[in-house]
C-alpha cells in the first residue's frame, strides 16, 4: 500500500540517479520525501560512503544493526544526513550472521568509531581497522563472559532471571502480578 | 600568668565564636544574593558539632592527622599575635612578617595532610593551592613592604598606634593602593569564589579537602573560622586603624567598644569578599596566576615605591 500513495519527489529521484551513476553496484529508491534508501553489497560500502560524503552527505548519524534470524543475516544500516540537500539516506548492507566482518569507515566519518564499537559490543560485528574494538566499554565483565548480546538467538529473559534470581515474578501474566 | 591564660582563653573563644558567625554571615549573604532564604546564622556551629560527633573516622597515617593539628595550632598561634583592641597576649611580638607567614602556614599543614592521603584529587588540589600561594605572594610582599616602609616599623601594635594619630592607613594614597592589592589577596586566602580553584567542588571534589571526614573536617571548620577572624582582624588592624577606644572611663567599656569597632570593620572586609565571591565565576589556575602577577602586583609595587619615597 506504500506504492500508491507515494507522491514522486523529483529532487530525491535526481539525487538517487546522480549517486547511482557514480556507484553502479548500488540500487537506490526514494521511500518518501526526504527519505532515500540504498542497498550496497558489503565489500563496496567504503567506496559508496566516500562518494556519498563527496556528494553532499556530510553527516553519519548512526550505524544500526538489525538481526534477521530467519535469513541468517545481520543488516547494517548507515544513516546519513545531507544538510545541503536537506535529506536522510539509509544505506543498507547485509552480512552473514555467524562471522559478520566489514571494514571500518572511520577515515571517512571519524564518528563511526563509537558506532562501530557499539555494533560490535552488542551484535558481534567486527570492523577491521577500528583500534578500540576490543576495549572494555558498556558491558560489565560478568555480562561479557556470559556473552550477552542483542541478537535474537540470545535468551535475555532467562539471563535476567539467573542474574537477579527473581524466578517467580516473570511467570505471572498481565492479569495477576506481584510487585 | 593566670591573667594571660584568661586573656588567651577569651581571645580563643571570642575568635572561634565570631569566626563561626562570620561563616554564617557569608552563607546568609550569598543566599540572599541568590534570593534564597539561607541557613540560620549558627549553621556552621551545627555543621562542626555534627562533624565532630561522627561515630567512625578514618586516617591515612600519622602525617594525615598531624597536618590538621598543625594547621589548627598555627592558626591559634596567629590569632594570639594580632592585637585585638586593648587585649593582646603576644601583642608586643606581633611582627608584620611573622603574622603573614603564620597566616600562610595552615595552608601548608592542610596540604601536607591532604597529600599524605595519596588521593589524586588532593594532589591536583595541592598543586593549585601552591600556585595560588605563589601568585598571591608577589602582591602580598609588596603590600607588606609598603606598610613597613611607610610606618618605618614592623610591629603591628605600633602601626595601630601610629594610625590613631596619622589617621587610617587607607587615607594615605600609597597605603590605599596596598590595601586594594591586599584585599584582592584576601580573596584567595579566604578561598572565595574567583580564586578558589584549589577547592573547586565540581572539578576536583573539594581538592585537598576530599579525604577529610568526621572530626578532621570538624577541626578544619574550626581552623577556617579562626583563620577568617584572624585575616579580617589583621586587615582591620593594619589598614583600618584597629580598635583603640579611650572615650569611656572604665577599661571594661573601652575594651568592649574597641571590640565592637573592630567587629564592624571586620564585617565590612568580610562583606566585600563575600560580594565579590557571590558574583564572579571561578578563574582557572593560570588565569589566576596571570591575573595576580599583572594588576595587583602593579598596584602593590606602585604603593611600595611611593611609600618608600
Amino acid at each position: 500500500m506504500a506504492e500508491e500513495v507515494k507522491a514522486s519527489w523529483s529532487k530525491g529521484e535526481e539525487i538517487v540517479r546522480m549517486l547511482l551513476e557514480k556507484a553502479p553496484y548500488a540500487e537506490g529508491t526514494v521511500r518518501r520525501e526526504r527519505r532515500l534508501e540504498f542497498k550496497v553489497p558489503a565489500d563496496r560500502i567504503v567506496d559508496f560512503l566516500r562518494t556519498a560524503k563527496a556528494n553532499g552527505f556530510e553527516l553519519l548519524l548512526q550505524i544500526t544493526a538489525v538481526d534477521w534470524l530467519k535469513e541468517g543475516e545481520i543488516e547494517l544500516v548507515y544513516q546519513l544526513f545531507s544538510i545541503s540537500h536537506g535529506t536522510h539516506a539509509m544505506v543498507k548492507t547485509r552480512l552473514p550472521r555467524d562471522e559478520a566482518r566489514i571494514s571500518t569507515v572511520m577515515d571517512i566519518y571519524p564518528v563511526a568509531e563509537t558506532y562501530e564499537r557499539d555494533a560490535h559490543e552488542f551484535f558481534k560485528v567486527t570492523f577491521e581497522g577500528n583500534p578500540k574494538l576490543e576495549m572494555p566499554w558498556i558491558l560489565e565483565d560478568e555480562d561479557r563472559e556470559v556473552g550477552v548480546s542483542h541478537r535474537k538467538d540470545f535468551d535475555m529473559l532467562g539471563y535476567v532471571k539467573r542474574k537477579y534470581k527473581l524466578l517467580d515474578r516473570f511467570d505471572e501474566d498481565k492479569e495477576n502480578y506481584v510487585i | 600568668m593566670i591573667e594571660t591564660a584568661l586573656k588567651a582563653l577569651f581571645i580563643l573563644l571570642y575568635a572561634t565564636f565570631v569566626g563561626f558567625m562570620f561563616m554564617g554571615i557569608i552563607r546568609i549573604v550569598t543566599a540572599r544574593i541568590h534570593r534564597r532564604v539561607g541557613p540560620p546564622i549558627y549553621q556552621p556551629i551545627l555543621d562542626t558539632i555534627k562533624l565532630l560527633s561522627k561515630k567512625s573516622n578514618i586516617t591515612h597515617g600519622l602525617i594525615y592527622d598531624f597536618g590538621i593539628l598543625y594547621a589548627v595550632g598555627a592558626t591559634i598561634l596567629a590569632v594570639m599575635f594580632i592585637p585585638l583592641g586593648s587585649i593582646g597576649v603576644l601583642r608586643a611580638y606581633g611582627d608584620l612578617i611573622l603574622i603573614t607567614f603564620l597566616l600562610e602556614i595552615p595552608m601548608l599543614g592542610i596540604m601536607f595532610a591532604a597529600m599524605s592521603s595519596g588521593n589524586p584529587y588532593a594532589g591536583i588540589g595541592a598543586q593549585r593551592a601552591l600556585l595560588t600561594l605563589l601568585a598571591i605572594q608577589v602582591p602580598l610582599g609588596f603590600a607588606i613592604v609598603a606598610l613597613a616602609e611607610f610606618y618605618g616599623t614592623f610591629s603591628t601594635y605600633e602601626i595601630v598606634m601610629a594610625q590613631q594619630t596619622m589617621g587610617w592607613s587607607i587615607f594615605h594614597f600609597p597605603l590605599l593602593l596596598a590595601a586594594i592589592a591586599y584585599d584582592l589577596v584576601l580573596q584567595a586566602m579566604f578561598g572565595k569564589e574567583p580564586f578558589d580553584i584549589m577547592i573547586a567542588p565540581g572539578e576536583i571534589s573539594l581538592g585537598p579537602m576530599v579525604e577529610f571526614g568526621g572530626k578532621h573536617m570538624g577541626l578544619l571548620q574550626i581552623q577556617h573560622a579562626i583563620a577568617l577572624f584572624a585575616e579580617t582582624l589583621f586587615f582591620a588592624n593594619i589598614f583600618l586603624g584597629g580598635g583603640v577606644v579611650t572615650a569611656f572611663s572604665s577599661s571594661i567599656l573601652n575594651t568592649i567598644a574597641g571590640l565592637a569597632v573592630l567587629l564592624v570593620k571586620q564585617v565590612a572586609v568580610l562583606l566585600i569578599a563575600t560580594f565579590m565571591g557571590a558574583i564572579f565565576p571561578r578563574f582557572t589556575i593560570d588565569q589566576a596566576a596571570k591575573f595576580y602577577w599583572k594588576w595587583p602586583t602593579i598596584i602593590a609595587a606602585l604603593g611600595a615605591v611611593l611609600a618608600s619615597l
Binding site: - | R36, G38, D47
Partner: protein, 193 residues
C-alpha cells in the same frame, strides 16, 4: 571514651539540621536536585549542602534506576561515608526495578545491596515529595531511629553475599584492573610499530 549520651539531643539536632548531601546523582533523578537548592524550595534552610566528597557527607540520595556499573560505585562511596549515614531512594526504580523490571542492566531491589532509610515513591517524585521525604528522615534522625548504617554494619555478611552474588568475588580489584590488560596490549602494539 567520653560518655556523650547526655548531649545526645543536641547532637541529634545538629545531625538533623546539617545534613550534607553526597553529590552523586544516579539515573534520571539527578536533574531533580538543583530545583531543591534554588530559591523556590531552598534546602539550605535546613542546613543541607551538596558536597562532592563522601568522607564528609551524611545523606546519600539514590535518584533513579541503578545499573550494576553504578551500583559498584554506590557501594564504594557508601562505605566511604563516616558512620551516621542515611540513604534516600527516589522513585520506583530502586524499589523494584520500575519500568526496567526485565532489563539485564538494572538492579531490581536496591535494598538487597545497601540499606535504604527512606524511599520516596513516584517515577521521579516532584520536589514537594522529596521535601516530605527529607522531613521524614529528619524526624527519624530526631528520634534516633534512622539506623540504616547500623543495619549495614550488623548484617554486613548479608549485604556482602548479595553484592558478591551479583558482581562475583573480589569485584573491586577486578573493576580497578579492568583497563590494564587492554592498555598493556596497546603499549606492546605501539612498541612493535
Amino acid at each position: 571514651m567520653v560518655d556523650w549520651r547526655l548531649y545526645e539531643p543536641l547532637i541529634n539536632f545538629a545531625r538533623k539540621r546539617s545534613m550534607w548531601i553526597v553529590a552523586f546523582c544516579t539515573g534520571c533523578g539527578g536533574i531533580e536536585m538543583p530545583p531543591l537548592m534554588t530559591s523556590r524550595y531552598d534546602l539550605e534552610r535546613f542546613g543541607m549542602m551538596p558536597n562532592p566528597a563522601p568522607r564528609m557527607a551524611d545523606l546519600f540520595l539514590i535518584t533513579g534506576y541503578v545499573t550494576p556499573k553504578t551500583l559498584k560505585r554506590i557501594i564504594i562511596t557508601y562505605e566511604m561515608q563516616p558512620d551516621p549515614k542515611y540513604v534516600l531512594a527516589h522513585g520506583s526504580c530502586p524499589l523494584n526495578g520500575g519500568i526496567y523490571w526485565d532489563a539485564y542492566n538494572a538492579i531490581k531491589h536496591l535494598d538487597k545491596y545497601i540499606p535504604v532509610d527512606v524511599a520516596i515513591a513516584g517515577c521521579m517524585p516532584r520536589p514537594e515529595a522529596v521535601m516530605d521525604g527529607i522531613k521524614k528522615i529528619m524526624d527519624l534522625i530526631e528520634t534516633g531511629k534512622a539506623d540504616g548504617w547500623k543495619r549495614y554494619k550488623e548484617n554486613y555478611e548479608y549485604y556482602k553475599k548479595n553484592q558478591d552474588e551479583l558482581f562475583g568475588e573480589g569485584w573491586r580489584e577486578k573493576t580497578a584492573r579492568r583497563w590494564i590488560p587492554w592498555l598493556m596490549g596497546r603499549e606492546k602494539k605501539r612498541e612493535e610499530e
